[in-house]
């Protein structure tokens, strides 16, 4: 029989670890010991930690394979950018606009999550995976057709269906500013995101996901993952709880997207394609399904790894691929596991739940 670890300690260790890491890096940044390249990693790392933690809610906790998570990030990024830019005159304070952008990004992504989730969650397994993949592609293509600008009359939005229209078709005033230029993406975006904001968002995401998992709602979600029929038999509304997990995850991805989008001067919708979804999925799987702090660490390490491998130039992605395959083989092969088990004395209660 196997005894499970208490979860409260793991949660506090996660919060403390993230905070310590933040303080350390912040001190290094202030002390000037980070290169410019390293500084440019900080906000994206925070975004991808939030992405990984939120995807873990769907893949690890809820047990549904989603291959379109980047779509929600995209919705959050572009709606966040539009919010932040169109409020430039109304709200001069950058942090306040960032906060609003993140909230709007989360709300828009959550709404998209409901639209996608209601039909999709009727499907199971690989069929669900392929439909989330399809939705990710659709979201990317739709945003690719958006042309948005604002002037004193407010927002102007057109949908570039035939691919022939441009910003001039918005018929804005002279002072109007283009925000999203269709296939050229968002332009002239103010860089409102900061490492501190990223840290706060990571903490908020962690609190939301960990508290959710440790609550009645989280138990219901995990019950459905472990045994859907038994969950129904004890009176759990399966559709409702699968949707809660999916939409919460989408909202967090939207928030991460807004943070990410406001970190660059410009942003293309193709930045959030299938490969980005897969990238986040890799973080989640390597960090451990259902293991939240694992996702935090995996996202950090695997974001830095390809960057750090830049010294190998052309070989870096090849190396990344090899590392990925080897790690999967090493962690999932019974013989290799047995071999490692003999070399390293087994820890007590090795399996933890969060």
């Amino acid at each position: 029989m196997k005894k499970l670890k208490t979860t409260t300690k793991i949660d506090f260790a996660t919060y403390a670890g993230v905070t310590l890491a933040f303080l350390l890096v912040y001190a290094l940044q202030q002390g000037g010991s980070l290169t410019n390249a390293m500084k440019s990693w900080l906000v994206p790392i925070c975004s991808f930690i939030v992405m990984a933690v939120s995807l873990n809610l769907v893949v690890g906790i809820s047990g549904e394979l989603s291959l379109g998570h980047a779509g929600f990030m995209s919705v959050g990024a572009f709606s966040g950018i539009v919010t932040a830019m169109s409020l430039t005159n109304a709200i001069p304070s950058g942090p306040v606009r960032l906060l609003l952008a993140i909230l709007v990004g989360a709300v828009f992504a959550a709404v998209t999550g409901v639209i996608v989730g209601v039909p999709v969650l009727r499907l199971r397994g690989d069929y669900l995976a392929i439909v989330t993949l399809a939705f990710g592609q659709i979201i990317k293509d739709l945003i690719n057709c958006l042309i948005v600008g604002y002037d004193s009359h407010g927002l102007h939005i057109i949908f570039n269906l035939d691919g022939l229209r441009s910003v001039s078709d918005l018929h804005m005033e002279e002072t109007g500013v283009a925000i999203i230029k269709g296939a050229q993406g968002a332009v002239g975006v103010p860089k409102l995101s900061s490492f501190f904001a990223g840290y706060l968002l990571v903490m908020v995401a962690l609190v939301i996901v960990l508290n959710l998992v440790r609550s009645r709602t989280g138990r219901a979600i995990m019950a459905i993952r472990d045994n859907r029929i038994a969950a129904e038999s004890v009176g759990i509304n399966v559709t409702k709880y699968r949707l809660i997990a999916f939409v919460t995850s989408a909202a967090l991805a939207g928030a991460a997207g807004a943070l990410f989008g406001l970190n660059y001067g410009g942003l293309l919708s193709s930045r959030f394609d299938f490969n980005t979804s897969i990238l986040v999925l890799v973080y989640v799987v390597l960090g451990g399904l259902g293991n939240i702090w694992g996702s935090v660490i995996a996202a950090t390490v695997l974001y830095i790894l390809p960057e750090a491998l830049r010294g190998f130039q052309d070989y870096r992605m090849l190396l990344y691929a090899v590392v990925l395959i080897l790690v999967m083989l090493a962690t999932n092969n019974e013989q290799l596991k047995a071999l490692l088990g003999r070399l390293i004395p087994k820890r007590k209660g090795a399996k933890s739940n969060g």
Partner: protein
Amino acid sequence: MAEKRVFEKGKMVPVPSQAIIPERDSDKSPILECSHLGIDFGGLRAVDDFNLTLGRTEIAGLIGPNGAGKTTVFNLLTKVYQPTRGTILLDGYDTAGKTPAQINRMGIARTFQNIRLFSALSVEDNVKIGLHNQEPYSMFTGILRLPKYWRQEKAAHERAMELLSIFDMQDLAAHEAGSLPYGAQRRLEIVRALATNPSLLLLDEPAAGMNPSETAELMENIVKIRDTFQIAVMLIEHDMNLVMGICEGICVLNFGQVIAKGTAEEIQSNPTVIEAYLGKKK
């Protein structure tokens, strides 16, 4: 409609002072009434013209040879399958069109022939999931950990421990459900079902894989559960000692048809039942 009243009401046992749940409404109307229940799989009539009335605190047995359709009856009652024909009244309410989750909230809880626990979760969490609709609070209360969260979680913990104590399983609370021995897993399934505060408990082969002493203990516990919770129990079982020992009414199913109903003595001497189990005398 003489056959509808074949089952005699079980002995009404007074609610003991240590009752875990408050005293139930104990009027004389039946808890469950099935009439002309049936389901077809393709051309096969898996269950046909199934009629049954169950008293509020009765222990009933559903027996029959393998493939007779016993589990299918449970699946019909809990709406895992929607019946092709017939009606099910639970406490007088029609259950047509309900989902399995709604059926549970209406008062039927069940266990499964092939154990279905939330095996990656702890024993305590399994029971707490059973308490899902008993100690409710909203998702936001849970995320923000408002006072109600702590209150309800504490109540759920205490209730879970209390329920586990029926089978002396409090010490296993922190263990992974899937790692328990077989018998303990079956008992945990019963506890989880009880946690949903049912008025009718369906047990699908509760003694399967248990040794004689475990089975004897289980028999005592089923009666104890009925007495403390004042609920009806219906069980599918191949262990005839158990069935004949505790079931006040027995229903025999063969090829989806009810072939006999009655008390243990009546069933044991019924020639149709003997034929179904042993074959025709040459």
